[in-house]
C-alpha cells in the first residue's frame, strides 16, 4: 500500500511530522473522554501511528484515549525517549549504553520476570533492546538524536526508519537520480567542445578530431 507522499516503510513517515510539534501533549487523565476532533492531528498518539491515511490516525488517537487503557502506545508515547528508557543522559557514551542495556535486559528478560507480568516485561525488554540497537550504532544514533531534537519520539513501530540500509526504495531513488545525471552528461557533451571552450582538454580533443577528419 503505497500512499502518495508516504513511504512504504511502516511507521517511518517523517513527512507527517514536519509540522512543528515540540513536546508531546500530556494526557492528564487517560480515563476521561476527551474529544479530539478539533486539534486531532498532532496528539501524542501520533507517535505510535503506523503508515495510515490521516483519518484513521485521528480515529486511532481518539479510540486509544477513549478506551482509557494504558496501551503500549500510551506508555511509549508518554514521553520516554530511548535515553530515558535506558536511564542514561543524552550524552551517554557507548560504554554507558552497553551497561544500561545489560542491566535492564537482565531485569526485564521474560525468563526472569515475576509470574503474571511476563507480557509487560517482554514488551519492555523489546523496547530496551530496540533502544540499544539504535543507540549503539553511531549512524542510527545520530539520526535518532536529530529527530529527538525536533521533538519527535518515534518509538517501537518506527524502528525501521533508522536502519542505515533503507532498502529498495532508496536504491530506486538513486537510479532515477543517476539516470538523469547520465542524460545530463550526454546533453552536455554535445556542446562541450564548442569553439568557446578553451580548456586544455577541449583544445586537444579538437586537434585530435581535426587530425582524424583529415585522414
Amino acid at each position: 500500500m503505497r500512499c502518495y507522499g508516504f513511504t512504504p516503510i511502516q511507521g517511518s513517515d517523517s513527512r507527517l511530522f514536519h509540522l512543528p510539534t515540540t513536546r508531546l501533549i500530556n494526557i492528564p487523565n487517560s480515563n476521561s473522554r476527551f474529544s479530539f476532533s478539533h486539534s486531532s492531528f498532532f496528539t501524542s498518539k501520533l507517535v505510535s501511528a503506523t503508515c495510515m491515511p490521516p483519518v484513521s490516525l485521528r480515529t486511532t488517537a481518539r479510540a486509544a484515549v477513549n478506551d482509557g487503557l494504558m496501551t503500549e502506545e500510551a506508555a511509549a508515547a508518554s514521553g520516554l525517549s530511548f535515553y530515558e528508557l535506558l536511564g542514561i543522559p543524552e550524552s551517554g557514551s557507548l560504554v554507558d549504553i552497553k551497561q544500561a542495556y545489560k542491566q535492564l535486559a537482565r531485569k526485564y528478560h521474560p525468563d526472569v520476570s515475576p509470574p503474571g507480568r511476563a507480557e509487560e516485561y517482554t514488551k519492555r525488554f523489546i523496547r530496551v533492546q530496540e533502544a540499544y540497537e539504535i543507540l549503539s550504532d553511531p549512524g542510527r544514533r545520530a539520526l535518532y538524536d536529530r529527530d529527538l531534537a525536533k521533538g519527535l519520539h518515534l518509538a517501537f513501530s518506527a524502528r525501521r526508519q533508522y536502519q542505515s540500509n533503507e532498502g529498495m526504495e532508496e536504491r530506486g531513488e538513486w537510479k532515477n537520480r543517476w539516470q538523469a545525471q547520465l542524460s545530463g552528461l550526454k546533453r552536455r557533451s554535445m556542446n562541450k567542445d564548442a569553439d568557446g571552450n578553451l580548456s586544455w582538454g577541449a583544445r586537444m580533443r579538437r586537434q585530435r578530431d581535426e587530425l582524424a577528419n583529415e585522414l
Binding site: G139, E173, W174, G201, A202, R208
Partner: protein, 719 residues
C-alpha cells in the same frame, strides 16, 4: 553460533530481496539474549523456501558452507583475461562475481592479506573489466589492497596462493608484475594524479583509450586527491574517477570498543549525498519542468536540470562539481546491472571531461564474518573460512606497537599535556589503545600526514606535548612539514616512527628504510632508536622530557624480545647522546643502532665458538652521537663495524663523518658500514627479506671474518 548459520543464504541471492535478510542478520548480531528471536523464524522460512534457480552454483551454497578445499568455480575457470568476459550476459556476470568472491575468500584464508576491501569491490571489478578493455584502457586502483579480484581476472589467478609471499605476487598493484597493473600503488590518494597524467599523456600522443581511477573515501581525505581533482577540472581531459564509498575512513574504522563514525567532514557530506529523501519532491518538480520545456530546447533544459541538480544534490556533489568533475551518483556498488549501464553510457559519451562516479559499497560484503566485524576484516592472517577465526600465532611478547602505546599512556597519566596524533592508522600505530584511555587527547586526522605534522607543530606552540605516531614510510609524505614547520622553528614535536626497517609482506611500498637518513640530517632533531622494548619505554620517556627541540625515534614491525619491562610501564629518561656497551671484547667492535643490535649480539655468539670475542655497543642516539663511546671504541679496536637497518646516509654515515673530522680514521682503524643495499627489497617473510638485505647475524659474522682475513670461516658461517 546457530543464529549466524541462518544469515548465510542472504548473501547468495543478494540481488533479490536480500535487504530484509540483511537487516535481520544485522540485528541478530545484537540478540545477545536468546529470548526474543523476533526475526529468526522468518529467516528460517525464507531459508527453506528459496531454491537456487538452475545452472551451476557458485560455491557460496545455500547453507553457507565454506570449504577448506578450493571452491568450485565453473565460470571463473573459463576466464583468464578480461577479454574472455566480453560475451557473458549480465546474469553470468553476477555468477562470476559470486565465484570471484568465494575465490578471494579461499585464497586469503590460505595466505592472509587484505580481505574486506577486496570483497567490497568484486562487482565493481567485474563491471569495469566487462565494459572497458584493459590493458589499453587504464584502470588504476588506489592503494591497491583491493586489487585481488582484479588480479584474479587478469591472468594471475593461478598465482594467487603466493600473494604477499617471497617471490610471489605483490599485495598491491605493481607495474613490473603485469601489464594490467598500470600504476604501482601502496600509499594512498595517488591514482587521480596518476590517472590524469595518463589521460594527458594519451591526449598528447593522440591515442583514444579510457582512463579510470578507483579511489576510496578514505583516500579522498588526503590533500593530493584534491590537488589532482583541481588540476583535472582545469585541464578538462577525459577521465573517469570512481569514488568507492564504504564509510571506512580510518583503519580500522573501529576503536577497541566498537564502531566509530568516520573522521572528517567529508564523510558526512558523502552520507548526505546518499540520503536525500526530503528533496525528492523538488526533484520531481524540476524534472516535470524540464520535461515540459524539453524538445529542441536542449540548452535550456540542460540548464534547468543542472540548476535543479545543484539545488537537490546537496553540498557534497557541488564540491566535486566546483572542482570541475561531473558528478554521477550515488550508485549501488553491488548491483552489476547499474554499474555496467552507467559505465557503458559514460564510455560511449564522446567528450566528457573528468567524470566522478560515486559508488557505494560495503566493505567485507558477501562474507558474514567480515561484514559483522568492527574492522571488516581489513587485513587478516590465515583464517578458517567456515568460522572466520584467524590463526594468530601465539607470541610470548607483544608487538612494539603495543609497547609504544602502553608507554605513551603511562607518560600521559602523569603529564596531562601529552597528546597523540595519527593519520587514519589507529590500529596500526596502537593509538586506539591511547584513544580508549584518553578520548579527548587522541587525534585522528584522516589520511593527511602533512596536516598531522603541522597540526602537531601548532599544538606544540601552545605548550602541549604532541606525539605524532606515523609509519616511517608514510612520514616521507610529510617531510617538508617536518623540516620547515617543525625543525626550522625548533618546535618540540615528537615523532614515533613505527614500521621502521623492513616490513615483510607489505613490501617496498611500506618499507621504512629512509627515516634515519632524512631525520638525522636535520639540524635540530634528536634521533634515537631503541634496541628492545625496555629501551622503547625509556625513549618514550626521554622524548616526553625533551621540550626544547623536536625528537624522533624508530621501532620496527614485530614483537619484543622478552626483556623485563620497567615497573608501571613508566620509562626513565635517558641522558641524551649517551650509548652503552653491552659486551666488552677486543679487536672488533660492532656498533649497532636500533634493533640491529640484537643481530649484533647474535653474531657475537656465532663467532664466539671461533675464539673471537667481539665488543657489542648500542649507540641509542644517532643525533647527537655518543662521541666518547665512538672515540673509545675507535682507539681500542682494529675494526669498527656500524650496523643499522636503514639506507645509506644514516647512522653509519654520521659515525664516519664524525670519525673523519675527529681524526680517528687517520690511524690503523678499519671502518665498515652495514646498511640496507642500494635496491628495493621485495615483499616476503621478514627472515627472507633480512637475508636478501644481508643483515642477518650470519652476514654480520661473515663480514667480521672477512675483514680479519679469515675468509674460510666467513664462508663457513654463511653456509
Amino acid at each position: 553460533m546457530a543464529l549466524s548459520a541462518f544469515s548465510f543464504p542472504a548473501h547468495v541471492n543478494w540481488a533479490t530481496a536480500s535487504d530484509a535478510q540483511k537487516s535481520s542478520s544485522f540485528s541478530s548480531h545484537f540478540l545477545t539474549w536468546g529470548g526474543t528471536n523476533l526475526l529468526c523464524p522468518s529467516q528460517h522460512k525464507l531459508n527453506q523456501v528459496r531454491k537456487r534457480s538452475g545452472g551451476a552454483c557458485a560455491s557460496l551454497s545455500e547453507m553457507g558452507d565454506y570449504h577448506s578445499q578450493r571452491p568450485t568455480t565453473p565460470l571463473l575457470d573459463t576466464i583468464n583475461y578480461p577479454i574472455h568476459m566480453k560475451n557473458l550476459s549480465i546474469k553470468e556476470l553476477k555468477q562470476l562475481a559470486d565465484e570471484i568472491r568465494s575465490d578471494v575468500i579461499f585464497n586469503v584464508s590460505k595466505t592472509g592479506g587484505h580481505l574486506g576491501s577486496s570483497l567490497g569491490v568484486v562487482e565493481l571489478t567485474v563491471a569495469l573489466h566487462y565494459v572497458f578493455n584493459a590493458p589499453q584502457d587504464k584502470i588504476l586502483w588506489d592503494v591497491g589492497h583491493q586489487s585481488y579480484p582484479h588480479k584474479i581476472l587478469t591472468g594471475r589467478r593461478d598465482k594467487m596462493h603466493t600473494i604477499r609471499q617471497t617471490n610471489g605476487l605483490s599485495g598491491f598493484t605493481k607495474r613490473s608484475e603485469s601489464e594490467f597493473d598500470c600504476f604501482g600503488t601502496g600509499h594512498s590518494s595517488t591514482t587521480i594524479s596518476a590517472g590524469l597524467g595518463m589521460a594527458v599523456g594519451r591526449d598528447l600522443k593522440g591515442r583514444k583509450n579510457n582512463v579510470v581511477a578507483v579511489i576510496g573515501d578514505g583516500a579522498m581525505t588526503a590533500g593530493q586527491a584534491y590537488e589532482a581533482m583541481n588540476n583535472a577540472g582545469y585541464l578538462d581531459s577525459d577521465m573517469i574517477v570512481i569514488l568507492n564509498d564504504n564509510k571506512q575512513v580510518s583503519l580500522p574504522t573501529a576503536t577497541l570498543d566498537g564502531p566509530i563514525p568516520p573522521v572528517g567532514a567529508l564523510s558526512s557530506a558523502l552520507s548526505r549525498l546518499q540520503s536525500n529523501r526530503p528533496l525528492r519532491e523538488l526533484r520531481e518538480v524540476a524534472k516535470g519542468v524540464a520535461k515540459q520545456i524539453g524538445g529542441p530546447m536542449h540548452e535550456l533544459a540542460a540548464k534547468v536540470d543542472e540548476y535543479a541538480r545543484g539545488m537537490i544534490s546537496g553540498s557534497g556533489s557541488t564540491l566535486f562539481e566546483e572542482l570541475g568533475l561531473y558528478y554521477i551518483g550515488p550508485v549501488d556498488g553491488h548491483n552489476i546491472d547499474d554499474l555496467t549501464a552507467i559505465l557503458k553510457e559514460v564510455k560511449s559519451t564522446k567528450t566528457t571531461g573528468p567524470v566522478l562516479i560515486h559508488v557505494v559499497t560495503e566493505k567485507g560484503r558477501g562474507y558474514p564474518y567480515a561484514e559483522k566485524a568492527a574492522d571488516k576484516y581489513h587485513g587478516v592472517a590465515k583464517f578458517d573460512p567456515a568460522t572466520g577465526k584467524q590463526f594468530k600465532a601465539k607470541a610470548l611478547t607483544q608487538s612494539y606497537t603495543t609497547y609504544f602505546a602502553e608507554a605513551l599512556i603511562a607518560e600521559a597519566e602523569v603529564d596531562k599535556d601529552i597528546v597523540a596524533i595519527h593519520a587514519a592508522m589507529g590500529g596500526g600505530t596502537g593509538m586506539n589503545l591511547f584513544l580508549r584511555r584518553f578520548p579527548t587527547r587522541c587525534f585522528d586526522v584522516g589520511i593527511a600526514e602533512q596536516h598531522a605534522v603541522t597540526f602537531a607543530a601548532g599544538l606544540a606552540c601552545e605548550g602541549l606535548k604532541p606525539f605524532c605516531a606515523i609509519y616511517s614510510s608514510f612520514m616521507q609524505r610529510a617531510y617538508d612539514q617536518v623540516v620547515h614547520d617543525v625543525d626550522l622553528q625548533k618546535l618540540p614535536v615528537r615523532f614515533a616512527m613505527d614500521r621502521a626497517g623492513l616490513v615483510g609482506a607489505d613490501g617496498p611500498t611500506h618499507c621504512g628504510s629512509f627515516d634515519v637518513t632524512f631525520m638525522a640530517c636535520l639540524p635540530n632533531m634528536v634521533v634515537m632508536a631503541p634496541s628492545d622494548e625496555a629501551e622503547l619505554f625509556h625513549m618514550v620517556a626521554t622524548a616526553a622530557a625533551i621540550d626544547d627541540r623536536p625528537s624522533c625515534f624508530r621501532y620496527p614491525r614485530g614483537n619484543g624480545i622478552g626483556v623485563q619491562l620497567p615497573p608501571g610501564n613508566k620509562g626513565i629518561p635517558i641522558e641524551v647522546g649517551k650509548g652503552k656497551t653491552l659486551i666488552e671484547g677486543e679487536r672488533v667492535a660492532l656498533l649497532g643502532y636500533g634493533t640491529a643490535v640484537q643481530s649484533c649480539l647474535a653474531a657475537a655468539s656465532l663467532v664466539q665458538s671461533h675464539g673471537l670475542r667481539l665488543t657489542v655497543a648500542d649507540a641509542r642516539f644517532c643525533k647527537p652521537l655518543d662521541r666518547a663511546l665512538i672515540r673509545s671504541l675507535a682507539k681500542s679496536h682494529e675494526v669498527l663495524i656500524t650496523v643499522e637497518e636503514g639506507s645509506i646516509g644514516g647512522f653509519g654515515s654520521h659515525v664516519a663523518q664524525f670519525m673523519a673530522l675527529d681524526g680517528l680514521l687517520d690511524g690503523k682503524l678499519k671502518w665498515r658500514p652495514l646498511v640496507l643495499p642500494d635496491r628495493y627489497i621485495d615483499h616476503g617473510s621478514p627472515a627472507d627479506q633480512l637475508a636478501e638485505a644481508g643483515l642477518t647475524p650470519s652476514h654480520i659474522a661473515a663480514t667480521v671474518f672477512n675483514i680479519l682475513g679469515q675468509t674460510r670461516e666467513a664462508l663457513e658461517i654463511m653456509s
